[in-house]
Symmetry: C3
Subunit: 358 residues, 3 copies
């Protein structure tokens, strides 16, 4: 634990820009034991169908102690804890980097989370600035299950003294050579009879585009239940009375819910992509509101090997979350290119079994 840790009570109004001095550590409230109830709600709210997270016998045959918890449920749970401290007064979520999924999380595991300030910079308008944090979530054994960097634009109190500017280095990506692949993993046990698909690592090539067929119309009750499940407290998702006064005049859907929906929709086509290894970067390119219908396109960016494994490989993917438009009618987008229907543009890697020659 860093010497930067302070035992000041979190202020009810949350932290502001000038509170984020370099190296300050926040131990986030409410450690959480993940339960079977959380997993069921995640399925009901997102439509997740990855068999590894649904079938105990399958998970065991793949070498796990039981069904690991969906990587994005873990991500959202861990992320949610940081909001009260890091982004309660956020004006915008600017980016993610270096998101690494490590130890599997099982039902019964307890996740705690902390963040350290790695950078801070005032905007030229003097009313806000950018805060950079590195966050880690550990289980009850103290093992890290997830780590990530994130930067947000945070409001500044008038007249407060700013800490010195620090701009941190940020990773462009997580190298495939550093992906966490459990030693025990028997990737081949995830069979056609579990996924109804024989599409494996070998069948994908850079440039391949998959427009997934399903769509998910989001209701206010759904995104709020998901976001509360993660104990994410950002008021913009929950408080229509307050939101009536913002630039949109309404509540916003939490971006992590959109990521989860896209991952769930992409089961049809990426049936055998059983785990998320890393998120290299991403942006919530446009806001999502209740009533929007989310679709998903994936573009294969790279097919990577992982060290010491011939049975499992990685696909680096560009996930495009598309709203209120058939994704098959979306034009090809250059790297970083924006489009008014694209709400999510995520660069990440999944693990997927490789075809075994007899």
């Amino acid at each position: 634990m860093s010497g930067g840790w302070q035992r000041d009570s979190r202020p009810l109004e949350g932290y502001f820009l000038e509170d984020f001095h370099h190296d300050r550590v926040f131990r986030h409230a409410t450690p959480r034991t993940i339960t079977a109830g959380d997993v069921s709600l995640y399925i009901a709210l997102t439509g997740a169908r990855n068999p590894l997270h649904c079938s105990e016998p399958l998970a065991r045959s793949m070498g796990y102690k039981g069904c690991p918890v969906d990587d994005l449920l873990v991500f959202n749970m861990a992320f949610g804890k940081t909001v009260s401290d890091v982004s309660y007064n956020a004006i915008a979520n600017l980016g993610y980097a270096d998101v690494r999924f490590r130890e599997p999380v099982y039902v019964g595991d307890t996740l705690s989370c902390q963040s350290r300030v790695i950078g801070v910079k005032e905007n030229s308008n003097g009313k806000s600035g950018v805060v950079y944090v590195t966050s880690t979530s550990v289980n009850q054994h103290g093992n890290e299950v997830l780590g990530w960097d994130r930067w947000v634009m945070v409001a500044r109190r008038a007249g407060a003294e700013m800490p010195p500017t620090v701009i941190p280095p940020l990773a462009d990506d997580v190298p495939a050579s550093e992906f966490h692949v459990p030693r025990f993993l028997e990737a081949g046990a995830l069979d056609f009879e579990h996924t109804a698909s024989a599409r494996l690592w070998d069948d994908f090539a850079p440039g391949d585009t998959v427009d997934h067929p399903g769509g998910a119309t989001i209701e206010e009750a759904e995104h709020m239940m998901a976001t509360r499940l993660y104990q994410n407290t950002a008021r913009i998702h929950f408080d229509a009375h307050l939101a009536a006064g913002n630039q949109f005049g309404r509540r916003l859907v939490y971006g992590g819910h959109v990521i989860s929906l896209c991952r769930a929709l992409s089961y049809d086509g990426l049936e055998n992509a059983f785990a998320v290894a890393a998120i290299h970067g991403g942006t919530h390119a446009n806001p999502t509101f209740a009533g929007d219908t989310i679709y998903c396109r994936h573009v294969v960016l790279a097919r990577d090997t992982v060290p010491k494994r011939r049975d499992v490989g990685a696909l680096r993917l560009r996930m495009l979350g598309v709203k209120n438009q058939d994704p098959a009618k979306l034009p090809a987008l250059a790297p970083g290119e924006k489009h008014p229907a694209v709400v999510l543009d995520l660069d990440y890697s999944v693990l997927i079994a490789r075809r075994q020659n007899p």
Copy 2:
């Protein structure tokens, strides 16, 4: 396992009429371990109050290993798995037959499901046809927990070659002599103190009509969460953008959710009907949409004995799901008679304790 099983990946656009040749077997994706979270969500989404599924001590006193999972939760879970393969391109769900509830399902059991094509017939318009399948769901021990026949109208691709026409025999009903009643069952342990009702098998007679007092207004978030809980992927339930172009201009409520709501509403009056033994047939007679309020009428069709048991009997019931109208004001309907307010007309049998003479 049949020789009809094919290891072709499920096409992203789903199967069409011409893909359903006789005896083809589909092993449906995503085996599912049922959890306590699924059971809680089922209660929260349907209002189910059957004590057998709620109280562990009661379930044990009735001879079960623990609370068995609600029969209709099992049905919806099993049915949901078949949708991606069987009815992703369905135009209409035409009917059920021979639905048999067998081994009890407990929290922790893992359900898998497969279907075999037992019939196929092109419609005279050449654009669609009827597919008949028989489906079975087994637990992790390979024991069948549920079996059913079903027929659906499925779209045909233009120009595709049709398999030969086969029209299967379909059972009119499941004989009461074949109902699965667990040998261990102590029906008498379900006492007045659990149900607040002394209405038993002996108190019902053919022709009796019960108009249940409750009503359930359905919200979009509710029917979508229920349908996703079952991992049912039919787009008509989830995608408002796509549905805007259909004949209704909106999403449809999954018919199995309406069955579950009616079963839950009927607790007031059928408090001691602790299990569903069979569904003999049924139709979703009119569409249900979010905003509709569902009520339920039951008509007793028959009072049946079950083999070797004097403590438990069966009631054959006609379940009428009624929308936006007090069911008590519904006229008596002849067998098969339609009514614009009736959305569900189901012929099924429940198990219920018989009065014991001292």
Copy 3:
């Protein structure tokens, strides 16, 4: 068990005023084993973040066998069981008194509930009257986990004979000397690292006002799911078709859901108030509907010691549930004073750790 218990089946239309003769006992239907699924849903529906109910290691370090179930989830579950018998034909919920939280409830415990009529009085209009009941909920060991008194206005059938009038004594409050504080409790184990707050018993004083920063806009799906989770069957919450004919023309939100939302919102400021000890009284001062945004103000009424404990104390609080208005802009309200934006006015006590001198 009282000799007042009757084995008459609950009538489908519910009980009316004249059915509540003094000392009549109702054993309420559907004993319920609380599961991890119930706990997850409670978090997703209310936003509860109390670490004692979320982290197994923390709960154990505080001396509990595991995470105890949130007191208000227990209250709502127990209360829900009474509705079919006590308030199915209620015109208004008039009040609570003497609500005592006793044995902790854990996942896996089974709650049963019964009520005894302690008073009944006809209104002068002859069409309704007041029913007073005392209710208790016990676990599977027969130990009382919760007890409370409640009075409701209930409709009378025309022409029915009234039982004799009995007006019971009602407690003004539960003395702090009678609060249930588990002997095993290690209050000091709830540390800053779990709650991100060092605000303890010592930091509050009578008259202190806390306007909690969050707000929760309620959707129809959410309040109905919560109310069904509790198996509360009051039609006014679920049946929009029936409600169209009532004075509001729409469904009402169950008052217990509003209490739970306020308790959850008040985590920011009362982070270390880990348990509810008693509810002394309270009223649902105005109706709440879907679309309303709920905020919460707390006023400290008293700081109480509890017998034989120097590590934990109690705060007596006035919880004001406020709708569609920033609570910070609410005027100070005299005891019992009403305000059109106040939907809930609750007088209750929480347990909270005291600062330990080294």
